[in-house]
Amino acid sequence: MKGFSLLEVIIVSAIGLVVGTFLISILVNSNGFFFKQGAVINEGVNINDTMDNLTSMIRQASAVATGYPEATPSFVTSSHVLVLKLASEGPTEIIPDTYDYVVFSTDPTNPNILRMQIFPDPQSSRKSTNQVLTTLLDNVQYKFYDKNGNQVTPVSASVVEVSLTVLAQTGQVSSQRTSKVSVTLRNM
């Protein structure tokens, strides 16, 4: 009966150490990849989805409103808040001189949440909505232009330029994406 020599033990533990380090580094990395993958996919879906909602509402809008409600606004259109006026929908056609309001604003309690709220006129068949568009908001900015591309006040705008930045944070690593699009309002 003979045990292992010191040399054998040292070699075996050295191999064990190398293989162990290799295995753990693979585990840690692939775990990181998993989260990064989730975050990047989430970010892409978020930015596309939010832009879809924004562009489709701007396209339907008759005008940009100064705020909602118009008399004593609790939401005022600015470079970070957008209030749109959409013609109210009746059972078969639009109702003249009656408007629904769509508000895009950041959540007052969490600056990373972008919300879309629809306030329909009582006669309108459009549904009242309060929807979170993204929870990864970093920055959103609106610029207002007329037909000829001159920057104007929101109420006289016929083109709204939206610039949206989302930020996905995975531990120490963050990934950012910005999307910018100019959308023309209805009948402008």
């Binding site: 692939s30 990849f33 993958q37 996919i41 970010e43 699009v181 100019s182």
Partner: protein, 143 residues
């Protein structure tokens, strides 16, 4: 026969490797190979998702631009366009095609054009495209 130290060693070598040892080694190697093989697929799936999202973004932007143009300023055919984000897509090309709108989409001789924006890129050997379409009609919106 005399068992010398050398003979004992000889006998030990002739026993070969046991099944358990073989199975253990195979399992360890397989586990390592599996872990390593999974890494590139993670990376490429992140990129694939990112690229299609960027392509959709480029197509949306161009479509919104084309929507602003009048019916009369759109002539049939295919044109290339550029976008700063195209550099983020490998081997990318971007074009839009204008065609007369045919039935059943447009009836009663309605004058309208179908505009299709197409962004194509190469995803490690695979050709990918994102297509978005809109209809621009004479005397329609924004005209």
């Amino acid at each position: 026969m005399v068992f010398t130290a050398q003979n004992k060693h000889q006998k030990y070598l002739e026993q070969g490797v046991s099944v358990i040892e073989l199975v253990l080694v195979t399992v360890i190697i397989a586990a390592l190979a599996l872990l390593v093989a999974n890494l590139p697929s993670s990376v490429s799936s992140i990129n694939r998702s990112r690229h299609s999202s960027i392509a959709k973004d480029i197509a949306t932007r161009e479509l919104e631009y084309l929507r602003k143009l009048s019916y009369d300023s759109l002539s049939n055919g295919t044109n290339n366009f550029t976008d700063p984000d195209l550099t983020s897509l490998p081997k990318s090309t971007a074009s839009y095609t204008v065609n007369d709108c045919q039935e059943p989409a447009c009836i009663n001789g309605e004058k309208a054009k179908i505009v299709t924006v197409s962004v194509a890129w190469n995803e490690s050997g695979d050709d990918k495209t994102v297509d978005l379409s809109t209809i621009v009609s004479q005397g329609g919106l924004a005209q």
